[in-house]
């Protein structure tokens, strides 16, 4: 297949989706290529935190300032993806007094609104938080559903004519003179080759930007920093809880819809495609989370996941926490390729700004003067200003699934919703399996983590004729193994009991891995 377009964007994380959307809104024809499904990298493996900027005020004023501005913009244009839960920075008795003063002072400098609370007032608001605190500062942190955010950007872009190719890996770039004239990709599901001819090529491939750069013969220097996060099966806090100290491991606890997420770590890795989190790293996160919220000790952890931050290297920093979390745009004209640019670094909160800046560059390279509109035009699902409200969402889902049939009991995903998703995915010719449905519906994101609904989903795919012969059972095995990868490091207590039941069902009762 040959595809002609003005701009090809490589990478289907939130940044790539944001760029696609930004360009489409400017009236530029664009195509997105993603090797796996959307949010397969760090966009799908983070806190789901819309930073107020507080985390960065003391050490990284530039990042902080970006966050302050983007926080306000996104609460307006992406309200449907955001739960405006607010945030607290709390200092434990053991933490330094100096940092508290620094924090307030630096916040003022970057324009971050803060409010110092009485400790008692803070504890009333957050009964599970460690009572041994000496300071609590309120900031406008929020929680954001990154799957919804990326999907909304992709949907918006598609409505404006953009084309999205998921499960499509870039395998080669053809250069002629100082230009990339063809981007060659392959659909990993069907094996079909796709040749994209575009005026401009943008790489937003996250930690894979160096590999994409290499295909074009360009050296992009980044480091891989892995961060692991844990999810509990219950929501324990109302606000985002941050530790009021210099950024460190496990210093943020975020309420995400029905669960709580805590993390992260920062560990250099070399292999991007097989991330593991050993028990020791899990234990560190549990210990740190417990200091902020003691109930996190006895809570049930249902999964661990890890993402890789691409850190753009500079010489004057000590340690990865010291590297700025702001983003970098590489204009590869400097490397002799006029129509190729890369964006790396940054964070979820600033995805829109990142998309704006690189789109500005691309548009300028094309000799156009179309202005960014993403700071004022709302994303689909956010037009009415309604924020993400879990109770409302669940009650709506419950009402709509009562007459259909419930597949996922933890998150009330019914056959009707899945049918709609399947129709949509079939229209795009996209892959359909429990994982693609999970990303688009929260199926399997509750406390059984797909242990039961994965099975029902496969039965439903057979019922609908979407899968044939043994391919559905093969998908189920893959789904179970993928799920296991995230569950294994947190197996103790009740989570281990649940896994033993699932093992008895799938291996014992169903003999699903048997060779009879």
């Amino acid at each position: 297949m040959k595809v002609e377009t003005q701009v090809v964007v490589i990478g289907g994380g939130l940044t790539g989706a944001g760029i696609l959307r930004d360009l489409s809104l400017r009236g530029i024809d664009a195509v997105l290529l993603e090797r796996r499904d959307f949010n397969a990298g760090a966009s799908g493996a983070n806190h789901g935190l819309l930073h107020s900027g507080g985390r960065y005020v003391v050490n990284d004023a530039e990042s902080a300032e970006e966050c302050v501005k983007e926080n306000a913009i996104l609460k307006r244009v992406a309200s449907g993806c955001i739960e405006d839960c607010g945030g607290l920075f709390i200092a434990l008795n053991e933490d330094s007094d100096e940092y508290v003063t620094d924090f307030l002072h630096s916040a003022e400098k970057v324009g971050l609104n803060t409010e110092q609370l009485d400790v008692e007032e803070a504890l009333e608001d957050e009964p599970y938080v460690n009572p041994d605190i000496k300071a609590a500062i309120r900031v406008p942190d929020a929680s954001i559903n990154p799957f919804l955010a990326t999907n909304s950007n992709l949907t918006a872009a598609k409505q404006d004519g953009a084309r999205v190719f998921l499960h499509t890996q870039v395998i080669a770039m053809k250069r002629e003179g100082g230009k990339i004239v063809e981007v060659e990709a392959i659909n990993r599901t069907t094996g079909e080759k796709i040749t994209v001819v575009a005026d401009q090529v943008v790489s937003a491939a996250g930690p894979w930007v160096d590999q994409i750069g290499a295909l074009a013969g360009v050296d992009v220097k980044i480091a891989y920093s892995k961060g692991s996060l844990l999810i509990t099966n219950a929501r324990l806090v109302n606000n985002v809880i941050n530790r009021l100290r210099p950024p460190s491991n496990g210093d943020i606890v975020v309420p995400g819809e029905t669960v709580t997420i805590t993390g992260t770590t920062s560990i250099r890795v070399s292999n991007l495609d097989y991330l593991t989190t050993p028990a020791a790293e899990v234990d560190l996160l549990v210990n740190e989370a417990e200091k902020l919220v003691p109930a996190m000790r006895d809570n049930r952890y249902i999964r661990v996941y890890a993402g890789v931050r691409p850190l753009v290297l500079s010489d004057d920093t000590d340690g990865d926490r010291g590297i700025s979390r702001t983003f970098t745009i590489f204009d590869h004209a400097k490397d002799g390729i006029d129509n190729f640019s890369t964006i790396a670094g940054g964070k979820l909160t600033t995805y829109r700004l990142m998309a704006e800046k690189i789109s500005d560059l691309v548009v300028a390279k094309m000799g156009l003067s179309k202005k960014c509109k993403t700071d004022t035009v709302c994303l689909p699902g956010s037009e009415d200003g309604q924020t993400l409200d879990t109770a409302l969402r669940l009650s709506k889902l419950k009402a709509s699934t009562e007459e259909s049939e419930v597949i996922c009991e933890c998150e009330f995903v019914g056959k009707k919703q899945l049918q709609e998703l399947i129709t949509e995915l079939q229209k795009d010719g996209s892959k359909i399996d429990p994982n693609t449905l999970r990303l688009r519906s929260r199926l399997g994101m509750g406390s059984c983590q797909g242990g039961f609904c994965g099975y029902r989903t496969i039965g439903f795919l057979y019922e609908e004729g979407v899968v044939k012969q043994k391919e559905g059972n093969k998908m189920l095995m893959e789904f179970l193994e993928r799920r296991w990868h995230g569950t294994k490091p947190v197996l103790w207590g009740d989570q281990l009991r649940q896994e033993q039941l699932l093992e008895a069902i799938y291996c014992g009762s169903l003999n699903i891995d048997g060779n009879l």
Binding site: E405, Q500, N511
Partner: protein, 430 residues
């Protein structure tokens, strides 16, 4: 007030029930305390003896007694090895003859494993099944034309999945989804429990037969999800076969499922009818010891401590799911004896990298160590308590899920645990 019992059995799963049957048949005053329903309702009701050995190879064996002989030679610490071939055979035969003669009419072939098709369209080897699954075994063997029927609205069973997965070797398999609208009260959701209670009604079965008969075509068998009522399942199957003129069988579903619940209910009711004491819901949470003997078991009933004097005790408290073992973040403990178990030092090594597959998770082989009389021993190998024996999945040295040996281990060690207590108390009396 306290109650006196000759033998106290802790645990209401299959091992506890087998021990209780054994103790009662030997004339002991028998008392069972279960923390809940036990794990039986979560099983398929199929009883495994041994089908896969060694687990590294995933090799499937059709002759369980021969496999068992190999295992006894090669794994002296396996629970079966503590019981011995004769002990296993005698206890299985005794327990099976009870089940074969029961209203659930269990079906087995004495010296051979059998296989059934499951709701996932997979084939599971086992040793014995409820009578309602007998035709499942036969249909799979004969591969005659068979209709697999599910129900519109029942998300737990997809007949299409069964047929798609098996049709390469069983071409006469056909899937149908039946629409029960009009047969079932509109307000009742299509769930396993609701349909099961409908099947208990003659009127529903008559209507159901009318609906399904025209769809049978050449079919000699009709396979339905395992929701054909509760304890009267065999009458229901017979009635359907009579109305339809084909053999009818059940297909096991994702748990918790009815066949396991039927078995659990029957075992409990029969033991109650035999006059044993059965208490459920409040677990024993503490034991008192004097020297090398347990003397008192405690449980907190309505916040009042209940002290139960113990002369002999069988511990059949299950593994993690049943609460017999507790996994803390860094160690695994058995809470009643309050012992820490031998376990890989790092939690990274408790499980394999893959969920399924060979040889099995190291944690699965962790359990309470015993001597040859199933009495718990310490890390030095010395018997901890002389009047306690241990039965069922809590024992160390096996992987029942992968071996397909769960029921056999529970029954054989349940019997042996009782026998061992009696013989060691006789030895002491001399």
């Amino acid at each position: 007030m306290t109650t006196q019992a000759e033998i106290l059995i802790i645990g209401g799963g299959l091992a506890g029930m087998a021990a209780a049957r054994r103790a009662n048949s030997l004339g002991l005053k028998t008392s069972v305390i279960a923390n809940s329903t036990g794990s039986l309702p979560y099983t398929s009701g199929a009883l495994d003896l041994i089908a896969v050995y060694p687990t590294e190879t995933k090799f499937y064996h059709s002759k369980p007694w021969e496999t068992l002989s190999d295992l006894l030679n090669q794994q002296p610490d396996h629970p079966y090895s503590k019981v011995g071939l004769k002990g296993v055979k005698d206890s299985i035969d005794d327990f099976m003859s009870y089940l074969e003669d029961s209203p659930l009419k269990y079906y087995r072939r004495e010296n051979e494993n059998i296989a059934i098709i499951t709701g996932a369209g997979t084939i599971k080897p086992t040793y014995a099944v409820q009578g309602s699954l007998k035709a499942n075994v036969l249909a799979l063997e004969q591969r005659k034309p068979t209709l697999i029927a599910g129900f519109k609205g029942l998300t737990d069973f997809a007949p299409e999945q069964v047929v798609e997965n098996l049709q390469d070797r069983w071409p006469g398999l056909v899937a149908q989804r039946l629409d029960l609208t009009g047969l079932v009260d509109q307000k009742r959701r299509i769930t396993v429990a609701n349909i099961a209670s409908e099947f208990e009604k003659v009127a529903f079965r008559a209507e159901f037969a009318k609906l399904v008969k025209p769809m049978l075509g050449q079919a000699k068998f009709l396979g339905l999800p395992a929701i054909l009522g509760m304890d009267k399942v065999m009458d229901i199957v017979a009635d359907l076969e009579n109305r339809l003129g084909v053999e009818v069988f059940e297909i096991p579903l994702l748990s918790p499922a009815l066949p396991g619940t039927r078995l659990a209910n029957m075992l409990k009711n029969d033991l109650l009818a035999d006059g044993i004491s059965y208490r459920q819901g409040v677990p024993v949470d503490r034991l008192e010891f004097e020297g090398d003997k347990v003397t008192v078991a405690h449980r907190q009933a309505r916040r009042v401590d209940q002290a139960i004097p113990v002369s002999m005790m069988v511990m059949a408290t299950g593994r993690f799911f049943g609460g017999g073992l507790v996994a803390e973040q860094h160690r695994i403990v058995e809470p009643l004896l309050n012992t820490e178990l031998e376990v890989p030092a790092s939690r990274d090594d408790w499980h394999m990298k893959t969920f399924l597959g060979a040889p099995g998770h190291p944690i699965n082989r962790v359990g309470v160590k015993t001597d040859e009389y199933l009495r718990p021993v310490g890390s030095d190998g010395k018997v901890l308590y002389k009047n306690i024996s241990v039965a069922g999945a809590i024992l160390d040295g096996h992987d029942w899920v992968r071996e397909k040996s769960g029921a056999g281990i529970s029954i054989a060690t349940g019997y042996a645990a009782v026998d061992a207590l009696l013989s060691s108390s006789e030895v002491e009396a001399e």
